[in-house]
Symmetry: none
Subunit: 315 residues, 2 copies
């Protein structure tokens, strides 16, 4: 369908979500002159907006704030006239050849192809202090923030592979890492556990929950802990990494149609194709092991090029 | 094996190739404090070094020269003390638990894990005259050789993004650029096509192949062309830029062990794992449909994180 004859509610491509994956897909789509709309429910930027400092996005030699990085990504896509819109999607129908998006307020959009970049959210403890000290000692990403804790004492909350591997990773920086896990046994693979047990920088507090994160003007200063035997204690730390998993932002997806993994993340192939024709996914909403800004961006580019290829073979 | 007890020839991780994929893997490995070496046979930067202008690496809003972008990526990895070495590898043995690299001159390195980022090289036409006039009017790099053709008439062979972008770049020097493409339609992104169509220095010869590159003692003088309708013609040019895609730099790989596609690119899963344990691949050497700087970088990050996970479960 030639672009100029399409009504304003009909698009060749709709990108859902404006984090690094969505913005990169948008940059590529705008350069490809597809009739494209990027729909974001809040501010452009996704989880990166809440990342204080990004030290590992290649090319920004001295690092860059998360806010500045996504602002640049958004400006980059805007330079090529990407259309963006702030709107909440209430329902999606991705099954047919024409994909239908129902916006809150009743508006209806269609797209020949959709790229889902709705991202994920860190699993939260939901305890006092967690929100107040987010980015001031409370972190959800060891790779991002570990180097800030050189020779300091910190805590990791969680017992799975990610938590224990990241606890090990953090011993390269921190002088002491206390792993806090609510159960008697870790969930992490044995060999990973053994390595962590062998480290003289890691201590374990099992059968223990974080009841509160405490601090002052300078950020986190400690944790109030509740042990499963009914006792309680405190622990002085300058940082706490909450690594209890990522939850997919999949509330809008018709999960019964789209193949997802057991946690609800969308399964794709290496070219970002989902189980539905014309539907692609990129970034943290994908089923994958490693959630990084640069691989989200890379996947956004790949997803858009896959979508272009899909559109080219439509009648 | 604790890092400090390893001899200088033994590494936890060796990265082969210093383009965007290798430099990003190196950035991540250096930040993870793995004992890492990046081996590059020439200058750091890979094919991007020969790219005049990069307009689609997300975050560089106004674009950046290829040279400057890889210089920033290299400086970024160096900021975290990535060890790099200029050396030619003569042979690789990736089959065992310990990966062995034989350097020219006889030195032998080992690594517990290897990430292959050897990239690709420009594809060749394979027609008479191509080899004879290489460097005497036949070029594979517009950035490198464009300035030699000031006020001259030249040809570009190819219809993809690289070919059309470089044709535009070459209009800064040449008085006329004829784009020769074997198909009826260009493959390049629309915005790039539009720019080229708008240039009064670019002409298009579609449905046309180069049959021979002709010349004399001074170098290239013309092309013999075969059109898809069965006719033939000649075109007088003093230079021809062949920009028809990428062939894998796989000369060092024991291809009988590593799964590759029909063109010799390495097959990986979505986490950049190859068919051999402890061997990962990222960037243009991978079997994939879309070769972009940002997805090469993203794959470099993913490959390094996969390698970390592999190293963590070693005894």
């Amino acid at each position: 369908m030639p672009q100029q004859t399409m009504p304003d509610t009909d698009y060749q491509l709709v990108i859902i979500g404006g984090g690094p994956a969505g913005l990169t897909a948008g940059l590529y789509a705008a350069r490809a002159r597809l009739k494209t709309l990027l729909v974001e429910k809040g501010a452009l930027g996704g989880q990166v907006l809440t990342t204080d400092w990004v030290d590992n996005y290649p090319g920004f030699v001295e690092g860059i704030s998360g806010f500045d990085l996504v602002e640049k990504m958004a400006a980059h896509a805007e330079r090529f006239d990407l259309a963006t819109r702030t709107a909440q999607i209430s329902a999606l129908d991705l099954r047919g050849k024409s994909k239908i998006l129902y916006l809150e307020g009743g508006e209806r959009l269609t797209a020949q192809a959709v790229i889902i970049c709705t991202g994920g959210s860190p699993g939260k403890l939901g305890v006092p202090g967690e929100q107040a000290y987010a980015g001031k000692g409370v972190s959800y990403c060891a790779t991002c923030d570990g180097p800030f804790y050189r020779n300091q004492e910190i805590a990791v909350v969680g017992g799975g592979n990610t938590a224990i591997q990241e606890a090990l990773h953090l011993t390269k920086f921190a002088s002491k890492v206390t792993v806090i896990h609510r159960r008697r046994e870790l969930r992490a693979t044995k060999v990973v556990q053994e390595k962590a047990m062998a480290s003289d920088r890691i201590e374990f507090l099992l059968d223990t929950r974080v009841a509160e994160i405490t601090g002052g003007a300078g950020g986190v200063e400690g944790l109030r802990l509740a042990h499963n035997d009914g006792t309680s204690s405190t622990l002085a730390v300058s940082g706490v990494f909450i690594l209890i998993g990522v939850v997919p932002n999949n509330q809008l997806l018709p999960l019964n149609d789209l193949k997802t993994d057991e946690y609800g993340f969308i399964v794709t192939d290496t070219e970002m194709k989902t189980s539905l024709p014309g539907v692609f996914a990129a970034g943290d909403i994908r089923s994958k092991s490693f959630r990084q800004i640069v691989n989200a961006a890379g996947e956004g580019a790949t997803a858009e090029l896959s979508a272009e290829q899909y559109l080219a073979q439509l009648d």
